[in-house]
């Protein structure tokens, strides 16, 4: 019988009661006494010199309190980038200032130039229209290759649009070139990893509050990592010491990476609240979200795969242009480098790999991490080029992958791209996939589709990701300006209830359900006795937040450590209460007993003794039962899996329908299978959205063409099939206490190549032999046009 409590139980998400009944408390739900409203005046041109800003008419309008321009931020810093990359020659990347309000130039459509504070939102909007900006439009750079070939400069002061030209690993390059030169076969593929707009359900919002009596600031914000925002904004932008700055990220309605970053609006409302002496609130309109939330992906890549005559991989060489947009967002520089280059080995033993990435400034919205962050880009190019190679060499696409897998007995496996995989079994996930996707039955299904005049195709791929980021000392060597540990405080109350303060932040992941499952299991008490607190720097020890599928692997490990400390202390108390020796105390099902006797004392009595220490070893032991732990992992975790997609292509219209999608994942141990499946479903929908529908498009002048849902296609329920997901292949992580790997991004990382591989397969089988690649999204017009040749 499946468990109904603790680790392994599909406990229903307790936070859903709040979310589904309208009882959530999001940033925009918070209204402070005396609150004012803020509207930003944003650039309508992608690139322009700001000659003058006339705020006088706006300031004279009803309800207007103040109009801000960059002059109001003299002496303040820009929002910083959290990861410094060094180029091939060892020079640091170009790091132009990202001011809170545009200084001198506007650099993308949506760049904040001025901001109006008024009594009501409508008054602020009216006045924003009355701010007169004299802006001289300059030629915009949108295309990355044009931008580095001498287009207009996005940042005049740094002298180039090339942020960095990175080689990984530079010492490998000679061997890679030689292997490619002498190889039996080389497959080359040029592709685009399409630019995406995150579209979290909750738009970004921020409220700044300043208490002049105590000189304290509070920022309420839609963030995945409030401590990171406190550190970056306090130390680098506004010069506020951390003990005078509290950042609260209350309920957050989805992030997908886009709410990791420190945005200018956060610094603006915090500073403005002090200037105007009242709280300042800003909530993005949906159209503002489209043009100011950091976008994702946007890589243009050439990949070459060298093989021997049997289809063994010999070498991989890539050249990628990665769009940074107009400014360096918080983790923008790390995504195409250490979150992408390190993954280029995939699930395979390729001895020689060299990755070159040119990061480019353009007059577009900043680009940063989006669900998967670098790993989808790596997986897509690798799994597409393998498919193409298999076809060129006449080898079955599953067989060529199996032939090159890191085998189960070869772990730990050191890749040629720095990372070392601790554990895995890629043959097992592939076996599972072949079974759940009924690969053997494909030909029959294809014949059925053909009867309807439809071309059916099968696409298979593998993926590996590095998540649970990461060892702080390693990422520090690689240029990260932050640590990547996680924190937890476990506070036991006198009556036995537990509050866990975690540095992880839940914005849809279900931490409030899964973390109590872990603690309850360890102590042997009901889950309902454990509550999670997160998202407030005043309540939680310094933590790094949620991204990179790290919450359970890193945050959960910190909770395990803190809980172990609690148990150790509780055993001492129990030993005292039962007049036994500490070494004889056993904890089971919430009861401490003395080994080999029938003496026992329950959890509640021990907790009460800790806080009402009448009968207590006060000489040796402090009262109270509260412990904090920080956990810094010794390695990334490496979830992996195999995915299969079947599609039907309508040859008359080019429309692709996904008939089935199967995912066999290895996430190591699983705490809550239902939540894991939900995470995979969501990730698959996002990956299928990228593959089939989504595209952020700019015209040559830098105007965002896909600036609303009229033109930006999000996946809807009827765009995706019923998924077949399996996570029964489990090779537990070897270096964290729970043996978990992380599941939040896998679906988005692993699914795009399966979709595109399936479409190409359908067209190839349908006789369109000239079609070897179609860029995402594989929209009807693209598929139809490719078929026309």
């Amino acid at each position: 019988m499946p468990k109904d409590q603790g680790i392994g139980a599909s406990t229903k998400r307790r936070e859903d009661v709040r979310f589904l009944t309208g009882k959530g408390r999001y940033t925009d739900d918070i209204n402070l006494r005396g609150q004012t409203h803020c509207v930003f005046v944003r650039s309508q041109v992608a690139h322009g010199r700001i000659n003058a800003i006339d705020t006088s008419a706006a300031e004279a309008m009803p309800g207007v309190i103040k109009v801000f321009t960059s002059a109001d931020f003299a002496g303040k810093g820009g929002v910083p980038c959290g990861w410094q990359i060094h180029d091939k020659q060892g020079n640091p990347m170009l790091e132009p200032k990202h001011p809170i309000l545009a200084e001198g130039k506007a650099r993308y459509v949506g760049d904040a130039i001025a901001a109006v504070i008024a009594e009501t939102l409508e008054q602020a909007r009216d006045a924003a229209e009355a701010v007169v900006i004299d802006i001289e439009e300059l030629p915009a750079v949108v295309d990355m290759k044009a931008a580095v070939a001498g287009g207009a400069l996005v940042h005049d002061e740094v002298g180039s649009n090339l942020c960095y030209d990175w080689g990984f690993i530079e010492d490998n390059k000679g061997a890679v070139d030689a292997a490619i030169k002498s190889a039996h076969h080389v497959t080359t593929l040029e592709l685009v990893n399409n630019r995406l707009i995150p579209n979290a359900m909750e738009p970004r919002a921020a409220i700044g509050d300043y208490n002049s009596a105590s000189d304290d600031y509070t920022l309420y914000t839609t963030s995945q990592n409030p401590h990171v925002i406190r550190l970056l904004m306090g130390a680098f932008v506004l010069g506020i010491p951390e003990h005078k700055l509290r950042v609260i990220a209350p309920d957050v309605g989805g992030g997908f990476g886009s709410k990791i970053f420190h945005y200018v609006e956060e610094a603006f409302v915090t500073h403005a609240a002090k200037v105007v002496g009242r709280p300042v609130k800003w909530t993005a309109q949906r159209s503002e979200s489209f043009m100011t939330d950091a976008h994702g992906r946007d890589h243009v890549t050439k990949i070459e795969l060298a093989l021997d005559k049997d289809g063994h991989f010999l070498a991989i060489r890539t050249e990628t242009y990665a769009n940074m947009g107009a400014y360096l967002s918080t983790f923008a520089s790390s995504v195409p480098t250490y979150l992408h280059g390190t993954l280029m080995a995939g699930n395979y033993k390729t001895p020689h790999i060299y990755v070159n990435v040119k990061a480019v400034f353009t007059n577009t919205v900043p680009v940063d991490a989006y669900r998967g962050a670098g790993r989808p880009e790596a997986t897509f190019q690798l799994e597409r080029v393998i498919d193409k190679a298999a076809r060129e060499m006449g080898i079955d696409p599953i067989e060529i992958r199996r032939r090159n897998f890191v085998q189960p007995n070869e772990f730990p496996y050191q890749t040629p791209v720095a990372v070392a995989y601790d554990t895995g079994n890629y043959q097992a996930t592939m076996d599972k996939l072949v079974q759940i996707a009924d690969i053997a039955g494909f030909e029959g299904r294809r014949a059925e589709s053909a009867k309807k005049g439809l071309l059916r195709g099968l696409g298979v791929n593998c993926y590996i990701e590095a998540c649970g980021i990461a060892p702080s000392n390693l990422v520090g060597q690689l240029g990260a300006r932050a640590g990547l540990y996680e924190s937890a405080t476990v506070r036991v109350n006198a009556t036995g209830g537990i509050v866990v303060m975690t540095g992880s932040h839940s914005h849809g992941q279900g931490h409030e359900t899964t973390f109590p499952q872990v603690v309850a299991e360890m102590i042997g008490i009901p889950e309902a006795q454990v509550e999670i607190v997160h998202g407030d720097t005043a309540n939680v020890p310094m933590g790094m937040g949620t991204y990179g599928s790290r919450s359970l692997a890193v945050g959960g490990s910190a909770i395990v450590r803190a809980t172990n400390k609690i148990i150790a202390k509780a055993k001492k108390i129990a030993a005292h209460l039962m007049e036994a020796s500490e070494g004889d105390i056993e904890l089971k099902d919430g009861k401490f007993s003395v080994a080999g006797t029938d003496k026992s004392v329950d959890w509640g009595s021990v907790c009460l003794a800790a806080y009402v220490p009448h009968n207590y070893p006060l000489a040796e032991l402090e009262p109270g039962l509260e412990e904090t732990a920080f956990y810094d992992p010794s390695n990334f975790t490496y979830p992996a899996g195999a995915y299969a997609c079947e599609v039907e292509v309508d040859p008359g219209t080019g429309k692709v329908t996904i008939c089935s999608f199967a995912a066999a994942d290895d996430f190591g141990n699983v705490i809550n299978p239902m939540i894991v499946e939900g995470q995979v479903h969501g990730g698959l929908a996002q990956g299928i959205g990228q593959a089939m529908l989504e595209a952020a498009a700019y015209d040559a002048n830098g105007q965002l063409l896909s600036g609303s849902y009229m033109d930006y296609a999000m996946p809807r329920a009827d765009d995706v099939p019923f998924y077949m997901v399996d996570h029964s292949c489990q090779t537990p992580c070897t270096h964290n206490p729970l043996g978990v790997k992380g599941c939040g991004e896998a679906g988005a990382i692993g699914s795009p190549p399966a979709v595109v591989n399936a479409v190409i397969d359908a067209l190839q089988r349908g006789g369109h032999k000239h079609v070897t690649h179609i860029d995402m999204p594989v929209s009807p017009v693209r598929v139809w046009s490719a078929m026309q040749g």
Partner: protein, 262 residues
């Protein structure tokens, strides 16, 4: 949104006089107008809601056998109540937008707006329907005048739309992936006077009749009858979701599918 006055008259006459005010605008279901107000793209002095006018709501049969739909009738009502008499039209209405759009958006609003990717214009033009306003009757062939423009005078209200019932008809819509408006939609109607084929979503000039196909289908009402025809890509819309050549292809493919379904 800018501030405006709001009126909800009970009769067409009251609505006409309310609309006489400078910069007053009619409000149907608001599914097009309200979003543009929210974006501050329009600044009417007053909105005159037509949905409280009983004579403009509902579906009935005229003396001449035509299906008569009140100008303020929501798509969902057409989908439900026209299903028996004109299933192709009901199916079209039942596939506009989502349930919220269908329960608020009206046929009069859709036709007055004449979005080049809207569905109703194809049905109205292919059916040879008549648009009845507070002042006159306008034949479908004279009503649509290109993108977002119609024969309506300022302040003129679509009170009713009268559809003669064809012997056979069907609408084949290829959805734009994001908006799910028609990337190209073709309504085919076989009537005693011949076959009419109206195409929406494809042309830079809005809804149009494909006369070559009409001729071929009038001679033989089968998908094969137009197998040899094609429409030129010239003049077709090119955007993120389709090239002119792609839309030209869809015109033919969707026409064939509509004929097969009719």
């Amino acid at each position: 949104m800018y501030a405006f006055d709001f009126e909800k008259p009970k009769t067409v006459a009251e609505a006409v006089s309310a609309l006489a005010r400078e910069d007053a605008m009619a409000l149907g279901g608001g599914q097009t107008l309200i979003p543009s107000l929210k974006q501050r793209l329009a600044a009417p002095s007053a909105l005159v809601s037509l949905t409280g006018i009983a004579e403009m709501r509902g579906v009935c049969t005229g003396d001449d056998g035509a299906l008569c739909i009140g100008g303020a009738t929501p798509h969902a009502v057409v989908a439900a109540e026209a299903a028996g008499k004109y299933p192709a039209l009901a199916a079209l209405a039942g596939n506009i937008g989502d349930p919220a759009v269908r329960n608020r958006g009206t046929i009069g609003g859709s036709l007055a707006n004449n979005d080049p990717a809207a569905d109703y214009p194809a049905a109205v033009l292919a059916s040879g329907a008549t648009i009845v306003t507070n002042t006159r009757r306008i034949a479908a062939d004279d009503f649509f005048e290109g993108l977002f423009t119609t024969a309506l005078e300022p302040g003129e209200i679509i009170v009713e739309v009268r559809f003669p019932i064809p012997a056979r008809a069907a609408y084949a819509k290829f959805q734009q992936p994001a908006s799910r408006f028609a990337l190209t939609g073709v309504f085919v109607a076989k009537t005693a006077g011949g076959v009419r084929v109206a195409v929406t979503g494809a042309s830079e000039n809005g809804v149009f009749r494909w006369s070559e196909a009409e001729k071929a289908l009038s001679a033989s009402f089968s998908a094969d009858a137009i197998a040899g025809l094609s429409v030129p890509a010239d003049g077709m819309v090119g955007d993120l979701h389709g090239t002119p050549a792609y839309r030209a292809n869809l015109v033919k493919v969707m026409t064939q599918r509509a004929v097969s379904a009719a």
